[in-house]
Amino acid sequence: MKLPSSQFTKDQEKFRLEVRSFLQKELANRTFETACDSWLSGCNPQFSKKIAEQGWIGLTWPQKYGGQERSAIDRYILTEEFLAIGAPVAAHWIADRQTGPLLLRYGTEEQRSYFLPRITNAECFFAIGLSEPNSGSDLASVSTNAKKVEGGWLVNGAKTWTSNAHDAHFMITLVRTAPYSKESKHSGLSQMIIDLHDKGVSVKPIKYLTGEHHFNEVFFEDVFVPDNRIVGTIGEGWKQGLAELAYERSGPERILSTFPLLEEIYSILKQQQNKEAMNRLTELVAKLWSLRNLSLGVAKMLEQGGEVAVPAALVKAMGTQFEQSIPEMVRLLTETYPTMDAQKMLDRYMAQSILHSPGFTIRGGTTEILYGIIAKDVING
């Protein structure tokens, strides 16, 4: 596993500063408030609209679909600037990260020209429907099924832990289009675009442990999905979905979910001129620096078209454990009393980090599943 090292061009550095100064201005204008884990829990459609106006949704996509045809590294820079400042980008995050690339790879021309410009305008948000009440880590066992009918498919079943389904317009849904068999459990799965406002779809909130609402359960009762809302090939849903995983797992959001807390403790330790605590903080800085190099290495390899499933799994496994460790270290460096509505930023970020962090190592593939993927590849490779 050899990954390229990370450097940026002058233009990329310029772009970073452009994004940063935009976000700092918006923060100063109180368009948003910095928060930890904002990329998944900070859903703010108005803010997404502002991002769209900058041309920053679908940054890498073809211009004819509303994109800017910028590089994957530019997108990397953009997303890490969002994360570093803790901006609420959850509304458009999934569509930008996953739906767009999926449709560009497997979608029909009609799907691309219908959905992509709407996504880049922040008019259309997506959710992903994978997990089910009885299919968590064993994703291939999903049982939401679709039966062929005239002109389309009839979908029945339920998805769960669906982030932001209540704010999203559509969901890329993994469904079973052929019966489950133990021998070939990965075949017979297909991806469909389901309109979350269609007849037969109901979205029910699941309260997250912070008391907030971003998880949902989504039920389908004889939901009709027309043929033109099938993504790619019937029966190829598993393979198509796998292709997106490297993007999903290797991005800076697997490292930086609690970064605002790290930034805040740094500022406090500087004010205190606290040598001893700063000495200890360097360990976190070194971890972050090395993880970021790894994640950037994967981004570069993805751009060059290399095989990155395993390094991406490594980024996610190690990066999310790092994000999780930040509040644990911070509380040993200075006194804090975490509450969600604390006036002190440190206390608030601590609360957000502590309460959101158990999810980091679960969502997008549990650490245990990732370790299995990595180990099997290492043994066979």
């Binding site: 990954l3 450097q7 400042i85 970064f259 740094y266 330790l269 500087k270 000495n279 090395s290 496994a317």
Partner: protein, 347 residues
């Protein structure tokens, strides 16, 4: 990778693969060294790889040097590879003549060695690598008006043999009014820091190689060893060790590559300390995990794992390590006007 580097790396790997056996590596614990391998490396010009052609070397650069050191770390050959290559590298950097005699170094930001007006050095050094084999020592001596890099002959030095945890020679050396062979111009604090940075970086390359070897041989072991009627890599708990070993190895490899690139672009002031600090976690995780996976055989001389883990436990406390680098880095962070994010994203 440059073509030269690729060739150097290939040649060295070929030599090591051909000539290094378990017995070769074991020599270190018998108080011997692999002088035959040393001669082969010398004949093939590999020891002069990072000396300029002008000075009689092969004209490589720092990247070449680090690549060779990494392989050295990987094979744990009982030879003073880093000591020799690095000593010559800094000699040339400070316009002193490289040598093909055996040479080692001792660097400190608070020199414990003085240089008299008539060019004699006196001082003592507690753990000089391969000191007993070396004909020369490169070190920093405090003289009139400032510090100098000096090359000192060791034939009249007092040498008391010692060893690190891995059994590698780390000898006490006492110099009493020894006439030096050569000295540099006065060197300032910044230049000494730069030397220590480079030394740290070189050691990181050696450690990266050692980590890689432990990782590879542990994977191999899980494919050979059977328990409960199955190869042990089939057990999930072993797979978790494997994944963690892979993660630490890849992250160190990537850190060292990024560090090298930063060095080439001369923006390494923080990259080297960050790499060095991160590497300690890898040493902890990898050595613990590898031993756990190997079980009892790994803690014996029946298996060669111990050569590598003992080296890691030695190297982390040689030169400037985590503790000192953290203090340095934290001093910079305390004085900085940048945010943490600016610190991480400004090159």
């Amino acid at each position: 990778m440059s073509e030269i580097k690729e060739l150097l790396v290939k040649t060295m790997e070929k030599i090591f693969k051909k000539h290094i056996t378990k017995e070769t590596v074991d020599l270190i614990d018998e108080g011997q060294w692999a002088d035959d391998v040393w001669e082969i490396l010398k004949e093939n010009g590999l020891l002069a790889a990072c000396i300029s052609e002008k000075a009689g070397g092969a004209g490589g650069d720092l990247e070449d040097l680090f690549s060779l050191l990494k392989i050295g770390g990987k094979y744990a050959v009982p030879i003073p590879l880093m000591e020799y290559i690095f000593s010559n590298y800094i000699l040339e950097k400070f316009h002193l003549a490289p040598t093909d005699e055996m040479i080692t170094y001792n660097l400190s930001d608070t020199p414990n060695c003085t240089l008299s007006e008539n060019g004699e050095v006196s001082g003592a050094f507690p753990h000089v690598a391969w000191g007993r084999y070396a004909s020369n020592l490169v070190t920093i001596a405090k003289g009139s008006g400032g510090n100098y890099l000096v090359k000192v002959p060791l034939k009249d030095a007092l040498v008391k043999e010692g060893a690190n945890l891995a059994g590698e020679p780390r000898d006490y050396i006492k110099l009493t009014a020894i006439p030096i062979l050569e000295k540099s111009r006065i060197i300032d604090y910044e230049q000494i820091e730069e030397m220590i940075l480079l030394e740290t970086a070189a050691k990181c390359a050696v450690i990266a190689g050692t980590l890689e070897k432990i990782y590879e041989s542990t994977i191999e072991y899980t494919k050979q060893r059977q328990q409960f009627g199955r190869y042990i890599h089939r057990f999930q708990l072993i797979q978790h060790h494997i994944a963690q070993l892979a993660g630490e190895t890849v992250i160190v490899d990537s850190a060292v590559d990024n560090m090298m690139e930063a060095l080439v672009e001369k923006r390494h002031r923080h990259e080297i300390p960050l790499t060095r600090i991160r590497i300690e976690e890898a040493i902890r995780t990898v050595s613990a995990s590898a031993h756990q996976v190997h079980g009892a055989i790994g803690v014996t001389y029946e298996h060669n794992l111990h050569h590598y883990t003992r080296r890691l436990w030695s190297y982390r406390d040689e030169g400037r390590g985590h503790l000192k680098w953290s203090q340095k880095l934290s001093r910079d962070l305390l004085q900085s006007n940048n945010s943490m994010w600016e610190f991480l994203t400004t090159y």
